[in-house]
């Protein structure tokens, strides 16, 4: 891996992050409702309102506010929540572990469901089983996540009472939210794994292995699966974006105390620093995920060359 490529790629990621911080800041600056009024309350005198505005720095020009925000950002300071009077960084850090746990669960679901089903479909190519898996994959990618979540809640928590209805803390709490978040990706992975497997099964080394008398199971698991799994594993980093959007929905359905729920609550109260903070953290996650996916792909699969 050339150092030049690495530096270029890192620089590109940093530029994107800078752009994101600016776009988000401009966006929330457009909010027609005045946050100062919300903090001060209805009965505040004009003098109090102005004092709070000055204290928050909201009387400065936009570019000045943004530069101030950016310099704080570089010191890990995302500002203070207008309403909760707490550092945004503190709020996000407190809730990040729950979201990361949810994502880890979702990745497990994606791999455990998507990979085997895709491989199975590839071995039954063109037959009814293949068709069924593919229609199933299409169905889960077409299903709104909030309906999937409520359906799982209804069947497994309300009717069967196998899992708790909501909340956080133990493994049983994690199962339904992780399933909801991971199903969508499992649908994509099944398609990618199937298509990769069909390619691999055509390769000469698979034919050779068969000709040398390897059992079908050995050919599949030792020779083919290893290579077909590569494109799927390389995709995990790209899932962060999918998860960040999904987290808002899944966390609101299941009452999961992560940053998705935090963002959701902040949007309803127009708590701008939190909205900007979560969007920024999510974007950092996406940029890092993409970077990792780009950098590890050639390590997992030497046939992929890094773009110079």
């Amino acid at each position: 891996m050339s150092g030049r490529y690495l530096v270029g790629r890192l620089g590109q990621s940093l530029l994107i992050l800078l752009g994101i911080s600016f776009v988000t800041y401009v966006l929330v600056y457009l909010v027609p409702a005045d946050p100062v009024r919300q903090i001060a309350g209805r009965s505040a005198t004009p003098a109090t309102v102005e004092a709070i505005r000055a204290q928050l720095g909201l009387d400065l020009p936009l570019w000045h506010q943004y530069l101030r925000y950016l310099s704080n950002l570089l010191q890990g300071d995302l500002g203070r929540s207008y309403l909760q009077k707490t550092e945004v960084t503190t709020l996000i850090l407190a809730r990040l572990p729950a979201t990361l746990e949810l994502m880890a669960g979702a990745i497990t679901v994606e791999l455990l469901l998507g990979l085997p089903l895709g491989v199975y479909a590839a071995t039954k190519r063109g037959r009814a089983a293949d068709r069924a898996v593919m229609v199933g994959a299409f169905t889960v990618v077409s299903a709104p996540q909030f309906v999937v979540g409520i359906l799982l809640l209804y069947v497994f928590a309300v009717r069967l009472a196998w899992f708790p209805i909501g909340g956080y803390g133990t493994l049983p709490h994690l199962v339904l939210p992780a399933l909801t978040l991971g199903l969508l990706g499992a649908g994509w992975y099944a398609r990618v794994a199937r298509s990769a497997m069909i390619d691999v099964l055509r390769q000469d080394y698979v034919t050779t292995a068969r000709a040398k008398g390897a059992s079908p199971a050995r050919v599949l698991l030792v020779h083919a699966l290893r290579n077909a799994a590569l494109p799927v594993v390389a995709m995990i980093g790209l899932d962060v974006g999918l998860f960040m959007s999904g987290a808002v929905v899944v966390e609101s359905v299941f009452g999961w105390p992560g940053i998705g729920q935090l963002a959701w609550q902040a949007i309803q109260r127009l708590d701008i620093p939190i909205i900007v903070g979560v969007t920024l953290v999510a974007a950092v996650g996406i940029v890092i995920g993409n970077l990792v996916a780009d950098l590890i792909a050639p390590l997992i699969d030497p046939r992929i060359k890094l773009r110079a």
Binding site: P32, Q145, Y154, S245
Partner: protein
């Protein structure tokens, strides 16, 4: 040739089913006032039980009633209008913006291309739903604002695909031949590049409707999309979700409508891709 492929498309029972679903949806949306059994906003006195609970699917109200005693079937039929208007307007705008930016970036190249594509990368890095939620919360949502927000979020994919295709087309012999014959850039763009982009744009426009319908439903479900009383499949679920344990039809019937619509457009888009791009056949 192309006709033969379309014919083959229709012979696939699944694709045929997708077509029928889409046709029914269109008919329901266009003919809503004629086919809906009731006024979607009317709160029926006999639409609630004596205890004030919504009615399950039955003889008078085929799909039951909602928390306010309104007919669910009529709200669903009028909700199809919302979904379809957003699906066509928002997705149409997204495809137009994406194609325009992608073609300009790919055809002009140089600085213009770099700036446009770096901006596209930037937008790619945004969590789409968070961005849409923030936008929808900033501008108090109406049907058109929601459509606009979705268009602003969804053009990115189209821009990337059309950019790559335009770059490829620019190097092809027929474009070079056109140039050698003295055709100007605009003529080359209109007669040689755009017609070849059409299949790709068509595929993405079809798949995009599925994405758009899902995004609208999600925004409405989160309460920042189409506002009640205008019925939308997402806000019907939003209004009734807390009662999902006692009145599950109020969540799962509109949920199925969203799923079937997105599924139909996804299947159709995928089949179109296979039909229009033979190199991809059987791979996905």
């Amino acid at each position: 040739m192309a006709k033969g492929r379309t014919g083959r498309l229709l012979r696939d029972p699944l694709i045929l089913l997708a077509f029928v679903t889409i046709a029914l949806l269109l008919a329901a949306a266009v003919l809503a006032p004629l086919v809906a059994p009731f006024d979607p906003d009317e709160q029926f006195f006999d639409g609630l039980t004596l205890e004030g609970a919504p009615l399950p699917p039955g003889e008078r109200f085929w799909l039951g009633t909602d928390l306010l005693g309104r007919d669910l079937l009529s709200r669903l039929i009028f909700g199809a209008r919302t979904s379809l208007v957003i699906g066509i307007v928002a997705n149409g705008a997204a495809v137009a913006i994406g194609t325009l930016l992608g073609v300009v970036a790919g055809f002009a190249g140089g600085w213009t291309g770099t700036v446009i594509m770096r901006f596209t990368d930037l937008m790619m890095a945004f969590p789409a739903l968070l961005l849409a939620i923030a936008l929808a919360a900033i501008f108090s949502p109406s049907l058109w604002i929601v459509a606009l927000v979705i268009a602003l979020v969804n053009w990115v994919q189209v821009a990337r695909v059309t950019y790559t295709e335009t770059r490829g087309l620019k190097e092809r012999e027929f474009v070079e031949a056109g140039r050698a014959l003295g055709a100007g850039p605009l003529r080359i763009l209109l007669t040689h590049v755009l017609p070849h982009l059409l299949p790709t744009v068509l595929v993405w426009a079809t798949l995009g409707i599925a994405t758009t319908v899902l995004l609208e439903a999600t925004l409405s479900f989160l309460g920042v999309g189409v506002r009640p009383p205008t019925p939308s499949w997402g806000n019907i679920i939003f209004e009734n979700q807390t009662y999902f344990a006692t009145a599950p039809w109020l969540v799962f019937i509109p949920g199925s409508a969203i799923l079937l619509t997105a599924l139909a457009f996804n299947l159709l888009g995928d089949a179109l891709r296979d039909a229009l791009d033979p190199t991809q056949r059987g791979r996905t």
